[in-house]
Symmetry: C2
Subunit: 227 residues, 2 copies
DNA sequence: TTATTTTTTTAGGTATGCCTAATTTTAGTA
DNA sequence: TACTAAAATTAGGCATACCTAAAAAAATAA
């Protein structure tokens, strides 16, 4: 059986390796993310490596093995299922749930996760818009659609773009919109179909239909009415 | 803030001190209950004493202070609320819930306990028939009634007796029925009002109306139909 | 009342999970 | 290329929460 503390590390490695602009998970990145000192993390990495959950070299950084990734996705599942439950069933605000879920995810009962997931309506995304892996660790396959076809109040996740020109990509970079960015559609202007988008929990911008058409997203709210 | 591990000890002390025939909580009793060795427990008792949660002398054994009892009842509340939730909302069997509740009770959010208690219908007793203390640590005031007035399927708790003769008390002792015993009424014989009672999860006995009249109980199922 | 057993206490010891300080290695820059 | 800054590593330490073995104290029985 996996220790609570191993799970913490595996989840962190997964998160860091999937964050933007990271092609390598360095020791110091990981230590920073975990709010621990590098020697502490290093020591644990050696253990995780012996247990075959990761491989680590100072040049390649930390890489999850197949079994390490599976475990990581399992913790992520537990965490996100709890967050969903706290939000949907217990009616906590989406901003309150993280800390509680952090503790709840350590409770060790697959059956309990199943039950509370059922009680929550089995959505594919948690209250923050992050996808919930299934029991085997698979992430939900998302239906991609242009951001343009959004209705007001829609919350969605950026999965890709429809154009690769440097101009377009630079524009998005300037706006600070990247892959896996979570967007909230504040307003749809009927006149030309422009969209007011809020993201990073504060930034907000109006996108022209030409741009919105090129951004591919997937809705993250269960049963969203977007086409 | 109280540590998880302190809570474990305080709950154990409370439980042992309230178990049958215990007028003193000895170090070895406590160690046995916690499944730890006496030196380990002793060490912690010194700490708890310094924190003013208990007083301990080898002659008096362990005694909770006011504040220690309050903390103990708080953990007990958390534990029993979780058990209730797991049983009523998550539909686990009453025999499955203890272990999960043991872990869940460590999650530190009074607000969460409130929410799941509400979701569970705010009963006064947990699925094992044990009373759930309120936030201030008060145990529910029970309506005492003679066991005789029970309907089939009733589950109740022995609160006392109506007769103090040695004969009667010895009879109960022989049957292994004591204070706080949880009884389940298996059958009511209409002919003379005898009751078939099951308890200690296996023992079962038929009590005459004369005896059943003298045993005072309180129903532990929410909204039980007993008079 | 002494002998025996049980309970309590003391005195070390171990594993875990974190730390700081100092050193080595690597990478970036002048 | 040599210098400097950053990252990785080593070495040693600390607190927690357990343990065993042995001594001291108390309770029980002969």
């Amino acid at each position: 059986m996996l220790k609570t503390s191993d799970e913490k590390y595996l989840r962190a490695i997964y998160s860091v390796s999937h964050s933007e602009n990271k092609q390598k998970v360095s020791l110091s990145d990981l230590a920073y993310y975990l709010d621990l000192k590098p020697p502490t993390v290093l020591e644990r990495l050696h253990v995780l490596q012996k247990e075959k959950f990761i491989s680590y070299t100072k040049t390649e950084g930390v890489v999850l093995t197949k079994s390490g990734e599976k475990e990581a996705l399992n913790v992520i599942r537990k965490h996100r299922v709890w967050e969903t439950f706290l939000h949907k069933v217990c009616k906590f605000g989406w901003n309150e749930v993280h800390e509680m879920a952090e503790q709840l995810q350590n409770v060790n009962s697959e059956k309990l996760i199943d039950r509370i997931y059922t009680l929550s309506g089995e959505p594919k995304f948690d209250p923050h818009g992050d996808p919930i892996p299934d029991k085997s660790g698979k992430l939900p396959v998302s239906v991609r659609r242009p951001l343009l076809n959004s209705i007001e109040g829609c919350r969605c996740l950026v999965l890709g773009v429809n154009e690769d020109s440097a101009e377009f990509l630079n524009y998005l970079t300037d706006l600070n919109i990247g892959l896996n960015e979570k967007l909230s559609v504040e307003k749809v202007f009927g006149y030309d179909g422009s969209l007011k988008i809020k993201y990073k929990n504060s930034e907000s911008v109006i996108l022209s239909p030409k741009v919105a058409e090129k951004i591919l997203v997937t809705c993250t709210k269960h049963g969203c009415a977007c086409k």
